[in-house]
């Protein structure tokens, strides 16, 4: 390399280096500082965060207390969007605790605070549909699930579609349900929502089971199980195993069905889900009775009774 070229290269480097350093400095200092948040709103947001953490670790009492405080703080400054967030959260936690009247009261209070154009409206509509479903009001559940699907334009659209498909299947409209579930599967894959993707697959498995297409149903359930194992969701894994058990029992393969139910029971017991475990035990008891093993059936029923603490629902 000639001396002239070297000098030229050095000059270029000496020009580029300060430019790069200046660029890095500007990148670091760029951006205006965030707008200050009033202390009451900051406290309300902090309570909401505490509620989310409590719910994530399974402390539903703590979550309700924190969301309640957040709601009080938002209401003290007439912050309606904030209050709506707290109300939707309260409704969701109450529903998960099985307190449907309380959940309904909270979600009905959130409804007038959220116009349909609001970004939170689809979430509110989804929750309202879930509460309708939990209380057995299928028409209301369907109406709100449809509104949720129509208004959600983001990554949650697959979840909304899953719910609508689930309601349609319960209404016995499996063709429509399949269309929605397939749409949900595509949307969830596109959004990378693995849990909801597994829900779509399980739903498609249910639809195939309803149509007596056991081969397809088994494939869907296996795919769903694989995803649920990947995301390590105990309740969903147990649900997949129970669905596989139903499928095997329907095909007359009692041994295989018992195997799936035993696995589902084990997963539920270790995942602190007594209801899931009791459900698996009930199916096992029925299969044992069918196969002429009354002692085993009796033992499974006794264990189920112990798990549910006397509150039996067949």
């Amino acid at each position: 390399m000639s001396r002239r070229k070297r000098r030229h290269r050095r000059a270029v480097i000496s020009l580029l280096l300060p430019c790069a350093l200046l660029g890095l400095g500007c990148e670091g200092c760029s951006g205006s500082p965030p707008a200050p948040v009033p202390p009451v709103k900051e406290r309300a947001a902090a309570r909401n965060r505490q509620g989310l953490s409590a719910e994530a670790r399974g402390d539903r009492d703590g979550a309700l207390a924190a969301f309640g405080e957040s709601l009080k703080l938002h209401r003290s400054v007439e912050d309606f969007p904030g209050a709506a967030v707290a109300l939707v959260n309260l409704a969701r936690v109450h529903r998960l605790r099985g307190e449907i009247p309380l959940a309904k009261e909270k979600i009905d209070a959130a409804d007038p605070l959220l116009p349909p154009g609001s970004p939170l409206f689809p979430e509110m509509a989804f929750e309202k549909a879930m509460i309708g479903l939990a209380s057995g009001d299928l028409p209301a559940a369907k109406e709100w699930a449809t509104r949720a699907v129509d208004t959600e334009k983001g990554d949650a659209s697959g979840r909304m579609l899953n719910l609508l498909a689930r309601i349609l299947l319960l209404e016995g409209r499996s063709d429509e349900a399949q269309g929605r579930a397939e749409g949900a599967l595509a949307a969830n894959r596109n959004a990378g929502a693995r849990g909801e993707e597994a829900n779509s697959l399980r739903l498609l498995g249910d639809i195939a089971t309803a149509r007596m297409d056991r081969g397809r149903a088994g494939e869907f359930y296996a795919a769903s199980l694989s995803i649920d194992k990947g995301i390590a969701n105990s309740r969903k894994i147990a649900a997949d195993l129970r669905a596989l058990g139903v499928l095997a029992a329907g095909a007359g393969d009692t041994g295989k069905a018992l195997g799936f139910y035993a696995r589902a029971y084990d997963v539920s017991v270790n995942g602190d889900d007594p209801r899931g475990a009791a459900s698996a035990l009930l199916e096992m008891a029925r299969l044992y009775e069918k196969t002429g093993a009354p002692e085993k059936a009796q033992s499974a029923r006794r264990e189920r009774e112990r798990l549910l603490g006397g509150h039996l629902t067949d």
Partner: protein
């Protein structure tokens, strides 16, 4: 040969000399300043104290008197009895305050502050401690130690109460026997009353039959009279112990109680400060690029399968 002279370098030697002098003066000032800051130029004298454990002491740890630093720990060593000898270097000008009744204590400054050795001011009547002399070391009781001592005292009372209850319940014990005697006495008195009735009715000279009963009565009363004071003494002892423990507990509460609110306040402020710092850092480059965005508007994650 003609020597070229550039007018720009005319006073070069003088300028370089001035710079060298200025640099030298700056270095000397810095050394002096650091020396004064670290008390290098003040006269020192050694003092020592002995303690069971060297935990918490470090070389160079400040030694304070009434909150002012008066020296540092110079050396920590073990003596023949495996005791820890801590040697301090104290500024000579403070010697007049450190007297024979001064004590050394290991203290922590604030909630998360450094540990320091604190020396108490001696009383004017005591002699000034000469160099290399030993100060008594007073280990400060922490809350766990207080709780331990309290639990010891409570344990003693509980043991005494248990013994007393066992003594009261013991079927062969004085009290049970006394009660048995009183029961027998009552029964005897009932019988005696019947007999006295009979006697009165029949008016026979069976008064002598009352004598054994009266003897029993006298024995029982004698028993009660002898054993009751012992029992009362024991009860009194237990009560005085309970009173002592209550007083100690009150003292411990009075001592520890006022420290708890400032501690809690300090912790709260610390947590708030940390929260502020972490929040600030989250908005700074390069951290902000690695902080995941908040979960939308803060909604509990929904699931279509629930």
């Amino acid at each position: 040969m003609k020597r070229e002279k550039d007018p720009k370098f005319r006073h070069l030697e003088a300028i370089v000399g001035a710079f060298v002098l200025a640099a030298f003066a700056a270095i000397v000032s810095l050394v002096l300043f650091l020396g004064i800051e670290n008390d290098l130029f003040s006269e020192k004298y050694p003092l020592r104290f002995r303690t069971d454990s060297g935990a918490g002491f470090t070389r160079g740890m400040p030694v304070k008197l009434s909150g002012f630093r008066i020296g540092r720990i110079q050396k920590i060593s073990l003596d023949d009895q495996a005791k820890v000898v801590v040697r301090m270097r104290i500024d000579r000008k403070y010697q007049k305050w450190i007297r024979a009744d001064s004590t050394a204590t290991l203290l922590r400054e604030g909630l998360v502050g450094d540990s320091v050795v604190s020396i108490s001011v001696g009383s004017p009547g005591s002699r000034v401690l000469p160099g290399d002399d030993f100060l008594p070391f007073m280990p400060e009781k922490d809350l766990s130690r207080l709780a331990f001592e309290l639990s010891d005292s409570v344990k003693t009372v509980l043991l005494e109460i248990r013994e007393t209850v066992a003594y009261i319940n013991d079927p062969k014990g004085d009290l049970q026997q006394t009660l048995g005697n009183v029961r027998r006495l009552s029964a005897n008195m009932e019988k005696s009353r019947h007999r006295v009735d009979t006697l009165l009715v029949t008016a026979t000279g069976t008064v002598a039959r009352v004598d054994p009963v009266m003897d029993n009565l006298a024995t029982a009363i004698d028993n009660v009279g002898r054993r009751l004071p012992v029992l009362l003494d024991r009860m009194e002892g237990t009560l005085s112990n309970t009173e002592r423990i209550s007083r100690e507990f009150l003292k411990a509460t009075e001592k520890g109680g006022p420290r708890i609110p400032p501690l809690l306040r300090g912790t709260e402020e610390l947590v708030e400060d940390t929260d502020t710092i972490v929040k600030g850092m989250k908005t700074m480059w390069p951290f902000k690029k690695h902080v995941p965005p908040a979960n939308g508007p803060g909604i509990v994650p929904g699931d279509s399968h629930e």
